[in-house]
């Protein structure tokens, strides 16, 4: 009996360690399986920045760096090749946007089609704030009940009756 209790506690400890481990690991796991040779540090940092900011179109909540999808692998290779051919970051982002649209960027530019994406939350916040504000004011007004003399007399007479 005691043994099983000990075992249970031991097991839950192990689970806790495992879960904590997974949580820590999951933030640092990435799918950069290819080993790339870079001509200089600038190129390497450009490469890492680009694959972090470009979205994988197959598993859409991952960037190119995190995704193991085949298309993401090919897109990483394309980024690498274009850097090697002397393209700068803007040219590579332009290349991808021309083909896949603003969606391919994790930070889409502010323009008419993405206006709601950028400012929608602010609009919701302001509207919600106005609703709460007007509600609170109404409540306050409802609390301050004004009673005129006639009503007061009536109330007194009703109370006196009892």
């Amino acid at each position: 009996m005691i043994q099983t209790k000990w075992m249970k506690q031991f097991l839950s400890l192990i689970y806790a360690v495992m879960i904590a481990g997974f949580c820590l690991l999951s933030t640092s796991v990435s799918a950069k399986v290819e080993t790339r040779a870079f001509a200089n540090e600038q190129m390497e940092s450009d490469y890492n920045q680009l694959i972090a900011e470009l979205r994988c179109l197959v598993c859409q909540n991952q960037n190119l760096a995190d995704s193991n999808a085949e298309l993401a692998q090919d897109m990483r290779t394309k980024v690498y090749k274009m850097l090697g051919q002397g393209s700068n970051k803007e040219e590579i982002v332009d290349y991808m946007v021309q083909r896949y649209g603003d969606f391919v960027m994790y930070r889409p530019p502010v323009k008419s089609t993405t206006f709601f994406l950028w400012f929608g939350p602010l609009v919701f916040f302001v509207v919600a704030g106005l609703i709460v504000f007007s509600y609170l004011r109404k409540q306050k007004a409802a609390d301050q009940v004004s009673v005129d003399q006639q009503q007061q007399k009536k109330a007194h007479s009703l109370l006196d009756d009892e």
Partner: protein, 180 residues
């Protein structure tokens, strides 16, 4: 009055939900679909060797006729499913240029022998170079390119008679090229 307001609001919301749900069932508003950047723009080049005979497949060669560009692979079950319909389109006189994407050459050729070949030409694209140029992110994907080389339609997903009717057929009927 306020009560009517709530009721009207409820019905308006319900109508919106019904319309959106209905269109979702028709394949619209797919949260994964990406609007194509290419509608109304010139078709990108293909410029890779043909899967079957190694001759260069180009978009430029197709000028002067309406054609479909269909991205497929033997690893893609939806491609097997639409294959029969592509054969029907071919029989109706529609020119289809295929793009065999990220595939094994021998397996791709075996599939065409087994199931028939609906394609006039097939670009072989093992490293996504053509697929990326066309903004492809999944298979199957099908583009409709007109005689001037402009992309008119893009469809992500398998082509069924219903999809054909809804998105493609009108362009062909206008030119009396294919009646299905």
């Amino acid at each position: 009055m306020a009560r009517y307001g709530v009721l009207i609001g409820f019905f308006v919301l319900m109508t919106v939900f019904a319309v959106v749900l209905n269109r979702m069932n028709e394949g619209e508003y797919n949260p994964k679909s990406i609007p194509s950047e290419f509608i109304g723009k010139p078709a990108p080049e293909i410029n890779v060797p043909d899967l079957l005979n190694g001759k260069l497949v180009t978009s430029a060669d197709m000028k002067g006729q309406m054609w479909l560009f269909n991205v497929w692979g033997t690893w893609c079950p939806e491609c097997w499913r639409e294959h029969k319909f592509l054969l029907q389109l071919q029989q109706a006189g529609v020119t289809i240029i295929g793009l065999n994407w990220r595939d094994d050459k021998a397996e791709a050729m075996a599939m065409l022998t087994r199931m028939g070949n609906p394609f006039a030409k097939i670009g072989y694209d093992p490293d996504s170079s053509v697929a990326m140029d066309w903004g492809v992110y999944g298979a199957p994907e099908t583009f409709l390119v007109n005689a001037e080389g402009i992309i008119l339609v893009k469809h992500a997903g398998g082509i069924t008679p219903a999809v054909w009717e809804q998105k493609f057929a009108s362009h062909f009927q206008a030119k009396n090229e294919a009646q299905l």
